[in-house]
Amino acid sequence: MSGPVLCLVEVDDGEIAGPSQRALAVARSLASGPARADPERADPASAGLPADGGLTAVVFATLGGPADRAAADLAGQGVTELCVVASGELTCYAPVAWARAIEQLIAARSAAAVVAAATDRGAEVLAHLGALTGLPVAANCVAATATSDQNWRLLRHRWAGSLLEDAILAAPVALLTVAADAVAADAVADDGAVPEPASASPDASGQVVAPVSGGAMIPAADMPVTTFAPALQAADLRVRATQSAGQGGGMSLATARVVVGGGRGVGGPDGFAALEELAGLLGGVVGVSRVVTSQGWRPHRQQVGQTGTKISPELYLACGISGAIQHMAGCQSAKHIVAVNTDPDAPIMSRAEYAVIGDLNEVIPALVAAIRAAGGQE
């Protein structure tokens, strides 16, 4: 591969969105050539080919362009070009138009690969790009290496990360999405300097870890900012977001520092009062299992898991939850998991760090009382 790796970067409030950071880590590893020696995985005969085309961050200027802050951050992520896609017609998100623009950018730059985060937008745009170009798309990757001109060795998630797949992608241009909830890529040095481009290598659990420290310093000013004006047809703009509205208010399950989980073991809608109370005391929110939402005990927006919300709290206190893989797929990024369950052999016992064996209807009220008592003493 010779051309640059293009990475679609989503900017959120002037900053690089978390999932895009992970996409950048994988894109950087592709752009910087041979994957870190990984005796377990890499076939020595097919170690990655070095690329020389650099890493181009592609940002769509629907909201007046990326903030300077994001540009500086991108320079600190090993990005060698920031390409701002702008056109009078592109005033809001339009999936086919975004894909069309990237298709034209692939041709203009002779790009070797396109990488995007597997967010709603990233996954959607890359699927459209795959359809427009007839190229395959590998979704939810956690690592990628070029093994020859048209071959890519990939590690990707299946079952939302409950399973890993080693795969080979045969394509003149690799189209990849990167698992949006894989563990955060390490931030680059505070001074904005770029360390030597490092490869994103998944650890044994299949999470992306991007070692980026030490190495060559490239000042942010060296990253050229270019603009690209795609040629769009009316049909490309047929589907677009006509309105985006934040709801605001309330703590988000996805970002809460503490999540108190409730499953079938809670027994019914009334049982959640104690969990809500505990969540309030811990400055957190309640999350639930699919059994709870499909029974109609709680709304789906509180569901944690593969088809619900992915959480990344400091503490996940899972009460009356068995620990089905599809539920656990939603809390892979939780720092600490504590289970409260009557069954010492429940599957969650092999995923949690700590466990209390017992009836949550007894344990949770006692815990609430103890926290209140301790608080009262302060």
């Binding site: 597997a118 709603d120 996954a123 699927a127 459209h128 795959g130 359809a131 798309v137 590998a138 979704a139 079952w159 399973l163 890993l164 080693d166 795969a167 045969a170 999405t177 044994a204 659990s205 047929r238 977001a241 006509t242 309105q243 985006s244 509205a245 934040g246 709801q247 988000s252 520092r257 309030g280 005391l281 811990l282 400055g283 499909s294 709304p299 789906h300 927006r301 569901q303 088809t307 400091e314 068995s322 089905a324 893989i325 656990m328 600490h336 599957p347 969650i348 092999s350 760090e353 700590y354 209390v356 064996i357 017992g358 006692a366 815990l367 103890a370 926290i371 301790a374 608080g375 302060e378």
Partner: protein, 265 residues
């Protein structure tokens, strides 16, 4: 309105992922099979639309002969017609799958389905593209990740989550929409529904397998899923130890503040 819904048969894995000895597949000897919750919701949504506007719901799957079971499950939820694109059990990639579905729709009469719903992504392979590739093959607009939709005449309005809020799309029918769980609360199959599903005739077609650009080498279960939790104790007696752990983790502070504020009575 006649609506087509795409579903996929996947193993119903519970607490533990177990692979076959060759690492090529999930061991399904002890598991049942199901469709993704996204797809169940897509069927429910289609049934609700036809309950309001009239018309029929056809469910289609590409899979092994046994996938007829999942079509029957969906018929029991209120779908009217089941179509099986029968495979020999080999895994199909998204390009070939979308092409086979597009060809089948061509034969079923493309005009017959102004609305095609798909689950947002398959539960197992998570490729996120069959619906979109199908939309391109049929020359239709498409939107995915949808948590709410409204059909009014030839227009479809659809909403999905974005940045703590929602974004809205307007599509002219015919269209393809990828649906997510949470768009509705699927009903339980009724007894008459189940009986009807059992007797229903499934239409079978046999498309030819084609290689995709993405080839599986092997599957593996991520490491770190076999630790053992440290048991802090039993019942309410474990609370002091639990409090100590929560303190170590550093999550007890907000409670103290809330108490001090008097916001928690």
């Amino acid at each position: 309105m006649d609506i087509l819904v795409l579903v996929k048969r996947v193993p119903m894995v519970g607490g533990k992922m177990v692979l076959t000895a060759d690492g090529q597949d999930v061991d399904t000897r002890l598991s049942g099979f199901t469709v993704s919750p996204h797809e169940e919701c897509a069927v429910e949504e289609a049934v609700q639309v036809t309950e309001r506007l009239g018309g029929t719901v056809t469910v289609l799957t590409l899979g092994p002969p046994e996938a007829a079971d999942q079509l029957r499950d969906m018929l029991a939820l209120g779908a009217h017609r089941g179509v099986l694109l029968e495979t020999d059990g080999r895994e199909w990639g998204p390009i070939a799958t979308a092409a086979a579905i597009a060809a089948a729709i061509g034969e079923l009469g493309p005009a017959a389905f102004p609305l095609i719903l798909a689950g947002n992504e398959a539960a197992d392979t998570g490729g996120y593209q069959v619906g979109i590739r199908l939309a391109h093959a049929l020359g239709r607009p498409c939107v995915t990740g949808i948590k709410r939709l409204e059909v009014a005449g030839d227009l479809l309005r659809a909403w999905r989550d974005y940045g703590g809020g929602q974004e809205e799309f307007e599509l002219a029918l015919p269209a393809v929409v990828g649906v997510k769980e949470g768009i509705n609360l699927p009903r339980y199959p009724s007894l008459p529904g189940r009986l009807r599903a059992k007797r229903a005739q499934i239409e079978v077609r046999k498309p030819a397998w084609q290689a995709d650009g993405l080839r599986k080498i092997a599957l593996r279960v991520p490491a770190g899923s076999a630790q053992r939790a440290r048991v802090l104790g039993h019942g309410a007696g474990a609370v002091p130890e639990l409090i100590r752990v929560l303190g170590d983790i550093g999550v007890l502070a907000p409670a103290g503040r809330a108490e001090a504020d008097g916001t928690v009575a």
